[in-house]
Symmetry: C4
Subunit: 371 residues, 4 copies
Amino acid sequence: MAAEVEIGRGKSGRRAYALDEIGIVPSRRTRDPEEVSVAWQIDAYRFETPLLVAPMDSVVSPATAITIGQLGGLGVLDLEGLWTRYESPEPLLAEIASLDDARATLRLQQLYAEPIKEELIGRRIHEIREAGITVAASLTPQRTAKYYKAVIDAGVDIFVIRGTTVSAEHVSGRAEPLNLKQFIYELDVPVIVGGCATYTAALHLMRTGAAGVLVGFGGGSGHTTRTVLGVAVPMATAIADVAAARRDYMDESGGRYVHVIADGGMTNSGDIAKAFACGSDAVMVGSPFARATEAPGRGYHWGAEAHHGEVPRGARVDLGTIGNMDQILYGPAHVADGSMNLIGALRRAMATSGYSDLKEFQRVQVVVTPH
Amino acid sequence: MAAEVEIGRGKSGRRAYALDEIGIVPSRRTRDPEEVSVAWQIDAYRFETPLLVAPMDSVVSPATAITIGQLGGLGVLDLEGLWTRYESPEPLLAEIASLDDARATLRLQQLYAEPIKEELIGRRIHEIREAGITVAASLTPQRTAKYYKAVIDAGVDIFVIRGTTVSAEHVSGRAEPLNLKQFIYELDVPVIVGGCATYTAALHLMRTGAAGVLVGFGGGSGHTTRTVLGVAVPMATAIADVAAARRDYMDESGGRYVHVIADGGMTNSGDIAKAFACGSDAVMVGSPFARATEAPGRGYHWGAEAHHGEVPRGARVDLGTIGNMDQILYGPAHVADGSMNLIGALRRAMATSGYSDLKEFQRVQVVVTPH
Amino acid sequence: MAAEVEIGRGKSGRRAYALDEIGIVPSRRTRDPEEVSVAWQIDAYRFETPLLVAPMDSVVSPATAITIGQLGGLGVLDLEGLWTRYESPEPLLAEIASLDDARATLRLQQLYAEPIKEELIGRRIHEIREAGITVAASLTPQRTAKYYKAVIDAGVDIFVIRGTTVSAEHVSGRAEPLNLKQFIYELDVPVIVGGCATYTAALHLMRTGAAGVLVGFGGGSGHTTRTVLGVAVPMATAIADVAAARRDYMDESGGRYVHVIADGGMTNSGDIAKAFACGSDAVMVGSPFARATEAPGRGYHWGAEAHHGEVPRGARVDLGTIGNMDQILYGPAHVADGSMNLIGALRRAMATSGYSDLKEFQRVQVVVTPH
Amino acid sequence: MAAEVEIGRGKSGRRAYALDEIGIVPSRRTRDPEEVSVAWQIDAYRFETPLLVAPMDSVVSPATAITIGQLGGLGVLDLEGLWTRYESPEPLLAEIASLDDARATLRLQQLYAEPIKEELIGRRIHEIREAGITVAASLTPQRTAKYYKAVIDAGVDIFVIRGTTVSAEHVSGRAEPLNLKQFIYELDVPVIVGGCATYTAALHLMRTGAAGVLVGFGGGSGHTTRTVLGVAVPMATAIADVAAARRDYMDESGGRYVHVIADGGMTNSGDIAKAFACGSDAVMVGSPFARATEAPGRGYHWGAEAHHGEVPRGARVDLGTIGNMDQILYGPAHVADGSMNLIGALRRAMATSGYSDLKEFQRVQVVVTPH
């Protein structure tokens, strides 16, 4: 049934679809937006809004993690970002916003070359914790073994392990790689891990005991992974594949439901609705919040791949500012481009399509249609 | 036979087509354009021109409804627009045309926050009625129960119930939703209802007793439903699906013919011809008439979704002015972009393809070809 | 085997291909460009260059028809253009080149409203005839009955009947339409007729006794038939379909070979090569010659559909001037955009693909590849 | 299984894919980039970097051939370029970089009209040879018979025969064409020959005894072969087809492995990774090195097809300068557009996909996804 096409005599590949190649089709019923539930629960944590904000310095600082939590979402702090490398990152964030484009990548590389201070990991988590919200923070797989104790000791609620591609089976001749399965088993907190983009990779991540998997290659809206690495797995296909792995793993495991969290590539509320329509349980976004008045990036946006020392795969992009985080999540919107009232738009997409909760909405009919 | 494609392991969807992805193919015959009939009849009302002008304040006022009627078409007045909220909307229309883009959405939201005056509903209908033309006016499903008596009492000929998506089965826990079937049964006037975009949704609307169904999500040429909600059903596919529902419903009902009216997304005469080629009985357009010298919008164009208070899904767009309504309908055209002589172009498309009336022309051969 | 796709439940259509969606694939042989023959023969007339220049006032005047003939091609004079409406069109051609874009369509409509002078038909043909080259001239089907005697009397060699769509079966209630079959039978000269774009329409035209059929909807590079009428049959598919009709008609007629002449939509030498690869015997082009220093349009280009009085379907476009007709046909080119040395490029395409004459080259392998 | 589509009734063709239509899909494993091998060996020559720099005057001079060799790659000198036509090409290279666009093609044609000096062939090869690196130089098939002795005598290590299309079976009535098979048999050095783009053409080239075949039509990033000749075989399909020929020829020949070298159309590191993913053993690139500070073209780039005297099929393009050759190959990159650290990006694409050497990486999964 899969649309396998012959690229040449020696190579075939599936046709894969991006979110902007699909459209949601309303059913024969409609509902009131106010009666739609967009609540999401992972492990013991319930959120009124199924939205994680990505661990990127341009959007999540300790302060905005608190704001996002108070608004019903989950902001994830990057524990390898400026906040654990510097005592006072604010002047550096201001400097980044003032760089001209030509110099931005080089300066980001310099700033992120500063070593991580283990002591700051604990301090940042405490800062968020004091606000009484659910605390989530992220490490890359490469640094998880080194720093996870500091993270757990500081009292994180949800542990995020996030990289461009995270596999359950990293092969290395130099060092003992992170044994994800054992690591997750020994931790007391739920772990969300990714990115991954295929059925098989996701199934293996689910078998490590993760509470959730991130689908996609992360990165901000300025990411250039396709151009630099040639790696590209469009999100609509990736989400649907991983959702199928969730179903099969639930059967295999006797009922464990691992959450599928679309991560990256969603720049407007329409994309978010389509991610759920393809099977996501929640979404992780960055760029929509880079446009908030509270965003540490001051309207500029970049991800970890933008400051990679050797092979940067993203740029600092200027998105501008449109409103505060409350407005971006719940409106009212005064623009019509899908950048504000993300949750209001999601409710309306569900209502106009006839669905009353997110789990049902994963079954909504879609069409393939080029933009 | 349907082109169902696998988006991912957990999700499939049909390939759906937009009007600009198809082209009309002439048959082996040709005809004289002058001998082609484009007449259309719905219920007891016959129109020389199969064209409804959409209920949008930028195109239909009481005055232009009269002009359109005198020219052989049917202008539909929006009974939830400025003309039922204000005694004298003209200064407000002038103000809208003077707003800069950045402020337009917010100001539209403010202007349309003014309550509807029931008394004005009757008065506007009377103003049109006095001209002796067929009178059509529209309400959204949400307000139909509240205002329909005022509309009927004022003597509307054709009642239009129009929303982004109108279903025969609206589910609401708050209030008794409009029972379309009973409502239409009790009315004495023919009802046109929509938008809808699928076979099933259309079939259910046809079973309510509607005389016609609107295909599409309405909205002006500046609509952003795809970006904001993720909802998108390209028009060529939607029209062809609903035309199939018309045929099946005619069989099921023992011969009731429900008119299929393509609504939205047609910006030039080529699109209009293609809508008929896909199975439309008539078309409802907005933006082509927003460019008329008589248009209340003064060259600017917006739909109801542009002033939604919480989730606006369209913008006020500047289309400019190109000629009067008579020229736009019947030419002669002095530009070659499909914006003038809409009916002359439709006649010529039919003639060059060898068809002499609209019902036959629904069978014309088409090809799929990217623009 | 045809790629019929379902557009919606009530409508299907073939996927059709434009020339710029295909690419020529070299075979395993190569040849010397100098040893390739591009000669073409229709009826008793042999041409070293398989190229007709379209009957458009911007490219073919009596003077340039002579130039083109002397260079080995065939320029077709439009007998319904300025040269048969005015004694001295030169000042009008200069005026057209000086119009601003906004006024161009209207002024063209005015200039072409001048009646045709039958006397001038004969005179123009004589002017060309005196140069001793093959004379070709065109009328639309609507005016063929009225003027063909004047054309024949003046001694045309090849008679071209050309319109947007020409069918063998025009249906008219007003007047007796041109009976193509009888008309062609009675004439002594070979007739080329079109446009047509489908297998069936072409087969019927072949049965009229035509020596050649024009494939396409004619028109210059500024034509907007798709936007205005919705009619669109991409050229690669149209040529291949009509080439199949040629083969089937040859069988049906016991060996009559009707030439297939791609007409319109070829703007560079690559397009021309692809037209032959799809099955053309010759090509009719306009825009490449509008850029000649000798072109009457002075770098501007327009077709008959651009000055249609009611429904213009094309614009006057500014293409600029790049070289003389000899250079455009035979080079050497000093630009690399396919606008010069059309025949040199065709030879090289054939040679690099391993073919030595045009008839063989119709079998060259092609791929479908989006631009 | 091949996606043969019907273009029209008389013509079918395969759907062929460009590199930018595909994406690499990571497997379920990941690796450390440092443990990935990108080494490549052809005949007795081993390279740490699987990258040939194309014989184009804008990138390979004797000096840069040495630099590239010292960096682990293989620079191929064009023996029909400025270095064998002029004693001192440096002033001419400076002049080319100073031409305005409109005059560039004509001046290139003039400069390359200067005859080749056989004596200079030997001298240039000696200049490179003295540096102690592997020496590679190229001729076109047309001039190979005339000059190959001078090349061999001067001590070339790898002989490259390169043209737009090189076939094993060139048909010519004028002169005895190069008998590739006999020629290669008699030479003592390994020969790389191309371009070719199909399974059959490649198989025939492999049977001549070539050590490697070039896939593609060569040319710089400014090539216009598709526009000028209509010839186009997208690279992803071409590489995969030729890789299949390699496998079948290995079987047919009892084990001879002919290297597949993608040549042309790769402008960033993502394209290079995808070329390997489709089956390449090595890649030949030009434009990425035209941007080196050492490049003879001073940021301008052109290929042999740009100065063809009769039918130029490429332009001199201004790419600008971004860093030295070491940085372009091995980084670190300070831009995120795939133009620097080509080998670092390749390693990372392989590592993130779970592959440890290039031969394995040819099997990586890919998807088809429009850009």
